[in-house]
Symmetry: C2
Subunit: 338 residues, 2 copies
Amino acid sequence: MDMAKDAARLVGVARGDIVESAHRGHVAIWHRDEGLVASWGDPARRILPRSAIKMIQALPLVESGAADAAGLTPAQLALACASHQGAALHTGMVEAWLDSIGRAEGDLRCGAHWPYDEAAEHALIRAGGKPGQRHNNCSGKHTGFLTLSRHLGAGPEYLEIDHPVQRAVRDALAEVSGEAIEDYAIDGCSAPNFALSLSGFARALAEFACAKDVGGVRGAAMGRLVQAMAAHPDCVAGEGRACTRLMRAMGGRAAIKTGAEGVFAAIIPERRLGIAVKIEDGATRASEAVITRLLIGAGVLDAEHPEAVAFSHGPVRNWRGIETGHVEVAGDIRDWRA
Amino acid sequence: MDMAKDAARLVGVARGDIVESAHRGHVAIWHRDEGLVASWGDPARRILPRSAIKMIQALPLVESGAADAAGLTPAQLALACASHQGAALHTGMVEAWLDSIGRAEGDLRCGAHWPYDEAAEHALIRAGGKPGQRHNNCSGKHTGFLTLSRHLGAGPEYLEIDHPVQRAVRDALAEVSGEAIEDYAIDGCSAPNFALSLSGFARALAEFACAKDVGGVRGAAMGRLVQAMAAHPDCVAGEGRACTRLMRAMGGRAAIKTGAEGVFAAIIPERRLGIAVKIEDGATRASEAVITRLLIGAGVLDAEHPEAVAFSHGPVRNWRGIETGHVEVAGDIRDWRA
């Protein structure tokens, strides 16, 4: 199986005048009423959506009534969809949330890593501390899993593939993507990550974009999650990160979410669009550049906004702050308009 | 200019049973007597060799007599060719070397970044310190540049493109690669990085591999640098890094050097070979996997050695230490034999 054969050249990385590296990938843009309206590479590419799927992993938390039973706020729902920086904001929220549901850090199953937020990392080192599971960028999602598990009266091993929490996630994903969900792999945070096609993922994102049309319990849950993400960009990622910076720049007009290995998802309610990006080689710099250009093309991000320029073009600077190069997105991506 | 069009699929990255990402790239293998003996992708691909070129950037330091005038040891020559971790070993050597030539950290022009070595980083944070230029992974190369500059009686701005140090580097590179060197870009450490073809780079590396045949001042300098790198793997990179771990595993049978954006170089004296790798998308995990397989194929690295397995296959583990996937190098790379 040659996964790379249909990937399209999407991004060049120049150093000075020389194109030093290049990234290939796949894009699927799904309109809820019109279906697949644009694509690059192979929209049928089966992907692991990684953390870009978190709003779907959070659907059962809201649909089941667990979120309301626990009195979760929109900021907490955003954190359930987050790959956060482990800043004091995030770990404080996780600790309070765990406490509120009678659970503790030791009940998490995401594993520990040093916080990505430099201030938090340095404070922890200076205090002679060690990273905990609360610092894991996925700890909000896992606290959401624990909240749902408690609500369902299910057992503590909420990451097992047949646990009611993961069965609910799988069912929700199958329904919103319109695909049979069979394969999965284990994510960095130890949760099952289900495989689906890029276009199926984009279709699911378009459902989120049109939550009112979906209606019912599902539509209400989708709408709350999209609004929570768009209203709390600081909870979805953190300072310095593309999700946070670009959602701030768009002022709530779209909800976006990055995933490891070059995945990026966008939900654009006013255009009724879902966009899914997968860079073949897994490079985040490329998925960020492509999604930024597509948000511009969708008319929800000002091309002249400094954050739009930063993520779609650069410049790239070195250790002395000297401009050494830039990123260049392929012309047909730049020319796309919703 | 579509730099990617001739790149070959070299590496797959699997998560569970699913090939999640893939890397394309170029390889040139040059035998000093037989020329280009194997290649993948486009061996004519013009590349920026980045830090993989450091043994050539260090050639004028030795050839000029500056190294002997300053009484440099083999470990110092290895450090001049290094992208080091900023561990105490490395910064201590840089400080002592600068002092020995009447220069100080402020004379460096590489810029500052936090040490990559975790123990050094944490010690610096706990002490309330800030990173200095000595911590820059290129500070050994820059101290070599300062040593040459002093020997030549040249000015302090040793990174300027017309400075005698950079002119000497450019001339050496042209001679050992057999190519006209015209273009350059600015590296992460602010030094000019000259563009050349991948095969030209491999040819230069094969010259290093056959230093005795090259003879004269140049051959002697090449031989000393290769022996210095192979004998001091800890100075060339540091704990945890591919260069150090694989050179240790080979017990001095090859000198290897990584570079940013997916470049890797190998000098294999007993096979009279130079090998140059460029991953199109710039991924280090792919350049490491490919060079490891080629070192195995060249007969200088035991395929069963734990370091060979780690870099050519994995497993990849997550935050809880669970095996989540592995790396797979293309069969025609795995099948190559010198």
